[in-house]
Amino acid sequence: MSGYQTGIIVLLALNTIAAYGVYLPMSAGQLNLGIAGFMAIGAYAAAYLTNACGWPPSAAIGAGGATAAILAFAVAMPMLRTQGIYLSLATFALGQVISAIFLNLDIVGGAAGYPVATHIEASVVVSAATLVVSLVWLMSTTRLTVYFAAVKNDPLVADLLGLNVKALGVAALTVGAGIAGVGGALYAHYFNYIEAQYFGVMLSTYTVLYVLLGGTQSVWGPLVGAAIFTLVPEALRSSSQWRYAIFALFIIVFMALRPQGLLTRGLSRQRTQARAQSGSTNS
């Protein structure tokens, strides 16, 4: 495989992992706009462990994910007092605070960034992404997905049916953060240098875009979305200057024509939407 192709596949793998970090909370009704903050935590924690404590990269990457998950778990309870757009903004604020803290944390280089000594091969990143996708897929075959859907669509009824809405919300946020943390840690060890500025709002926003573009109705949506976001700009490389403008136009037109995202659950389900809409407003 050519160097270019390998590079693209790594980018795709990293974007996919991030997308699943957003997808999980989203399936439970949380639009996480602070995913970059959790990626930063995973990246810095893992980098610190390999650099300063001499951990092997695989252990450090796992620990990076765990650190992000633990932080998410710690903040989830107070954060989930908020809902909807307020929750999105709370996650957004958290992401900003996290990246501002890393910007000032001198043991990991502060504004100058943090070089990471150990390099991992492309194959490691790709295997990790495969693992994440398989795990999320496995999860989609458990009851948990149905529970998340219930919490997202009708938290009050979910509560009356005995679901612990808070706990499910915390779980979704935590697992999503863990996945994002692993993504950040992989990023750090593949590119061997991280800086806090990279983990900004725009990274979070784009990651959310991958998921919404791919569609939230299917587990494969985030994968497809990440693939579009990685590959289409590359395909437009020949039109160099115009490529981002063309790509943005593509997103707008695409969403206008297919608002439910690219992947929906088959054609028959497409009608569900129209019906479901009128059903929910009628009743």
Binding site: D154, L160, L161, T272, Q273, R275, S283
Partner: protein, 253 residues
């Protein structure tokens, strides 16, 4: 006869407005009780208080002798209280089976079991139970249909089955026959008969008097949040106050 549910001096105010006032009534085990009254009398509010949607202002709600007013709403289904909703509250995008799975959550023994990928186990007991219940009520053909696509009457029944799948001892139904045509109402009737045979206690809000009369032994009538009458249908029907406030002159029987 033992009392499954016993409500004493229940009050609820919303911002100074007294919606339920000093209400007391009992639901004996194994019976069907109707809660009727004019629009805005507070019937749905009573359901909401029993299932814990709102905290009570004062009074007690005893389930099998235990006061549950301080029990968080999500634990009440575990005590055997399940309900359907006046406006159907199913998740339109999920299939019928998936909606029914949520209703069985109380049956979960160990919390970690939620992580078992049951879709591989085609005949998981929950799925089996859901399918059995659907076919018992003649709805098996809708197993995998997204709920949003189903006709109103079928959705109402799925909502009902979701509530029964938690094997409740007390099933509260809020206007189950509203919006159903005559034949659908007959089917609903059969459905409820089966549930009664199984020993489920029913508490029903309904405006269809034929329906109430043929199902419920006991009627509780509310007006402005107060109980104005109580007893078997034929006794309540002749009550002066009930006629004036609720049934009207041209009675629906």
């Amino acid at each position: 006869m033992t009392m499954l549910l016993s409500i004493q001096s229940l009050c609820k105010t919303f911002g100074g407005l007294e919606v339920v006032r000093d209400l007391s009534f009992d639901v004996p085990d194994g019976t069907a009780t109707a809660l009727i009254g004019p629009n805005g009398a507070g019937k749905t509010t009573v359901f909401n208080l029993i299932s814990g949607v709102y905290p009570v202002t004062s009074g007690s709600i005893r389930m099998c002798g235990v006061d549950i007013v301080d029990l968080p709403s999500r634990h009440r289904i575990g005590r055997g209280i399940a309900r359907s909703f006046q406006n159907i509250r199913l998740i339109p995008r999920l299939s019928v089976i998936d909606n029914l799975l949520i209703g069985q959550h109380v049956k979960l023994k160990r919390p970690l079991d939620v992580l078992r990928p049951f879709r591989f186990a085609r005949d998981h007991e929950w799925i089996r139970a859901a399918k059995a219940e659907l076919s018992a009520f003649g709805l098996s053909q809708y197993d995998d249909e997204p709920v949003g696509l189903l006709p109103y009457g079928v959705r109402k029944r799925v909502d009902l089955i979701r509530a029964t799948l938690s094997s409740p001892s007390l099933l509260m139904l809020d206007e189950p026959a509203a919006g159903l045509n005559a034949s659908e109402t007959r089917e609903l009737h059969r459905h409820l008969d089966i549930l009664r045979e199984r020993g489920t206690t029913l508490l029903i809000i309904e405006h269809d008097m034929h329906f109430i009369r043929s199902i419920c032994e006991q009627i509780v009538v509310l007006n402005f949040g107060c109980k104005i009458a109580e007893g078997p249908f034929d006794q309540v029907r002749t009550d002066q106050q009930v006629s004036e406030a609720y049934l009207g002159t041209e009675r629906a029987t």
